[in-house]
């Protein structure tokens, strides 16, 4: 009659030796070789520590209702200006021109965060005046919450000049985040929660566009009006105002940040363990070979063999 394997189970064999023996030394060596090399392999093959990561978030942007407008009304340097800063307005003197401004922020998808700003400015002009160029600064408060709470005051700078006198400037762009360094992964970061334009100052230098831009560009995190596609429309009627239509969108941003301790450990652990499994398997085989073949002298005690003398 044919014999078949009806059942099988593993056999536990215990190998005994004294603490100070070659077998103990071998076991220690194997222990070190099992656990340390996977770390080295994982580390030296790059990407072990997650030094930088990204996340997506739509920022909470609100228009701060701060405007600084300069309109060149002659091609030899004459201009009219207006701002929401009293200091600047009194500096400008008789070049001050009060425009009509209408501002609306829209939350298109009803998620509680504003999606776009509709800024409309009508600058009255004398019939003999023409507008050749516009410089406009709008300021925003910009907030991110998902990782670290990041709060700053930022700006959008719109500048357009043309040799042809214009009737309307149409700007439609995105307020993008510019990062020179990654954000933190937690905590509150309000380093840049300071005014872009120091409106409490009466001095001429604090409203100088070069000073405003240079101090703004010193920041590591800024916003910039990108993809703005300015359209300069001509053909203004003599009694019409000069109109600036700006649509500034607040898009979802991909923000880079520096991961925290536990996040780094987690990703490192995944890599370490996956390499470790191979080493564990290999050295298990090595140990079985060494002890089965009695490379180092040990006393094998099998459950099966130890119970045999009793039976005989």
């Amino acid at each position: 009659m044919a014999i078949y394997e009806v059942y099988s189970h593993p056999l536990l064999v215990r190998y005994r030796t004294s603490i100070c023996s070659k077998a103990t030394l071998f076991l220690l060596l194997v222990l070190v070789l099992t656990y340390i090399p996977p770390l080295l392999v994982a580390y030296r093959s790059h990407g072990f520590w997650l030094k930088q990561s990204t996340y997506e978030e739509q920022p909470n942007v609100r228009f701060r209702y701060e405007v600084l407008l300069i309109a060149l009304n002659s091609n030899s340097g004459g201009y009219v200006a207006w701002s929401t800063f009293q200091g600047f307005n009194s500096l400008v003197g008789d070049r001050l021109r009060i425009p009509q401004v209408s501002v609306r922020e829209e939350d298109k998808n009803q998620d509680g965060k504003m999606d776009q700003l509709n800024f409309n400015l009508e600058l009255p002009l004398l019939p003999v005046e023409d507008v050749y160029g516009v410089q406009l600064i709008l300021t925003f408060s910009y907030q991110l919450y998902r990782m670290s709470t990041f709060v700053m005051q930022s700006m959008a700078f719109i500048q357009h000049t043309s040799p042809v006198p214009g009737a309307r400037l149409y700007v439609n762009g995105d307020l993008r985040l510019q990062q020179r360094r990654p954000l933190r992964h937690q905590g509150l970061d309000n380093t840049y929660n300071v005014s872009v334009i120091n409106g409490t100052n009466p001095f001429a230098s604090s409203y100088d566009l070069t000073n405003i831009i240079s101090s703004y560009q010193e920041r590591n995190v800024t916003t910039v009006l990108s993809n703005s596609n300015p359209v300069w429309l001509v053909g203004r009627g003599t009694s019409d105002p000069f109109v600036i239509n700006a649509i500034i969108r607040y898009p979802v941003e991909t923000i880079s940040y520096q991961p925290g301790f536990w996040e780094m450990i987690k990703f490192a652990w995944i890599q370490y363990v996956s390499v470790l499994l191979i080493f564990l398997w290999v050295f298990e085989r090595v140990k079985i070979f060494v002890f089965q073949n009695q490379v180092f002298t040990t006393v094998p005690v099998s459950h099966f063999s130890s119970s045999k003398p009793h039976q005989s």
Binding site: H46, G93, V101, A204, G260
Partner: protein, 696 residues
Amino acid sequence: MMPPQGTPCPVTLAVLGILAQVGAQSVIGFYPSTVFLSGPQMTTFLVANVSSDQLSLAVIANTTSLPSPSCNGQNTTDNWLSSIESFADGAQLIVSKVMVMLRKNLTLCSDNDTNCCQEDRCIVETLQVTACENNRSIASLLIHADLFINTTFQGIVSENKTVIPNQVYQPLGPCPCNLTAGACDVRCCCDQDCSLSMKELFNGSCYSGVFGGNVSPPFDQLCSIQEKNHAPDWYPFLCVQSDMDNSPFLGYFYQGYTGIPSPSPSFNLSFQSIYEKALNGYKQGDAIFVDLIGFNEYLTIPQPSAIGTCMRNAPVAYLQDFNATCVTDITVCSDAWTFHLNDVEVKDGSGGTIPLNVQLTDTTQDVVPTGPALPQPVQCEVNVFADYTFIWEANKIKEIQVTIETANITLTHQAKLAQRFTATFLTSNATADVFSGNPGYQVGKPVIAANGSAPFTKTTLNVWKPVLDSSCSSVTQTAILFGENYFSGCLFKVVNENCTQLRENVLSWFQTSLLSVNRISMRGNSNVRDPSEWISIIYEEPNTTCTENCETENVMCLGVPSNMNIQVLTAVTGVVEGIPQEEILAAKVSFSTIIVNCVSACNLSLPLTASVEFIKVPAQPPLSITRFQLMNTEYDCEKNDVCWQQLAYPLTKYYSGEPQYLTLAKGLILAFFFISAAVLGAPWNRIRKAWNETTF
């Protein structure tokens, strides 16, 4: 339902038939004799040969057959009043004016009012008016009245407060297109003011969507909608069983929450008043005030702002120097900015005031016309330069000196006038020895040079600054600033020179215009008496005489110096309070030459250039490194991403995401878990057992 207006009703047809018979016989009758009435009153005229004194009104209930005119009725009915007034009396034919009026108001009944309409279509009646004379009918008139209520709002706006219902149970705006109170808005089908018959007029074209009114389309979370939308099978557990009256579209689901009004208006033009501000000494950046009969006013000097043009009323900040050049288009004398400094009293910061020490000097200024000619020349005295020097001590101003240069100009054309304004804050009046750094050079400060022997007279090392057409005859000079590499040049006029002459002329031009110094200061504060702190400039002068290939000199000039290169070696030689101090180690002037193809009877502009190069060298010569050291980047984290120092990256100083103490604490927690896991697990457990067995 209202009859369509285009088709004549049966009544009108019948009346028309009768009228044709009557009209053929005589002119006696009502004109017009049949009326379609849509307003509350009407007027018609009766032509008769006898004077009629009586009108009889009768309501015709059955409009299919017309009853014969009778004089039995009154001149009023429930709804109508009538009156007759005869004129043109005495003639053969008597004309009377007949008026029929509605007794009711065309408004919808609100309470127990009777003088009103019960419904929107107030009255639909056919009325027969008979004119009688001694109970004999003369003529009859048919009126078909179809009256609607007056929907135009005529009420008085009451000043009572409007009670706003709780929005949870009753939305504030159930019908957003209802824009006129008390009147029916066209195409707004949810408007309660619109009657059924009115709605039929625009029933097919109601405003759609939420703005069309009280719509409640089934919303996504509704259980009944899920089956249609191929929702996932777990949806029935999470959907909303709701009445269709509930609608998230009109906010029925939400509790109205309290909105917090913005604490300040959006366009906020706040401004601090300075006029009565008390002064307790100036700090850096504070505006300087002048005293104006006890009140504060800014001290103003024109300064550029915004797009670079000057602003006249710019305040001056304490301890902030500036140097402003303002260019104005000038056509009349008053276009130039003038100063009235005679009775200006500047607040010194400690309660007192100080006057301005004004010094006027005359200068000359050429004005180049840039615009159209003026009708007649104008003589002007303009200020071309104003220099304010503030002598200060602690937080008060001790003295203010103002130097104003005025010039007489004659304007014949529109011109550009440049005016310069400077403000300098000094602690004392004496012009001290100006350093370019202490002790090392500061980047951006002029390189100090000198000539002769100790004690040296400080001057600067210069390069050309081309102006106008960049010819060498008009070139000016500018100081070389430490750490900034320069390039500039000018065009040198060559007129019919032989080669040796040309080389000599060019070289001497270089030497006279740029190389008037032979020593250069090593540090920003080098002692003028100590020659060891000044190093000699190394010159490498080219030969001016022909050295080789002299026969080609008939065709072209070889080796004409054209570029002077000043190389300055600098090094960081020490640190003062953590700031590296830079020193000049050596300076070398060398020339590079070109071939000039211009020998006899030739005029050309030869470009001469000067360049300055700052070369930073290590203070100590670095040890030469072997090829192995160059390639071995195992421990150099700048060049190797997997350097050994960053093996435990989160615990090292390279990681800046968290403070060191936090990463250390977290690392120790982690280590604790690993060690306890190791100690509790095999083979330590077994070793521990064996150990215990041997000891006991």
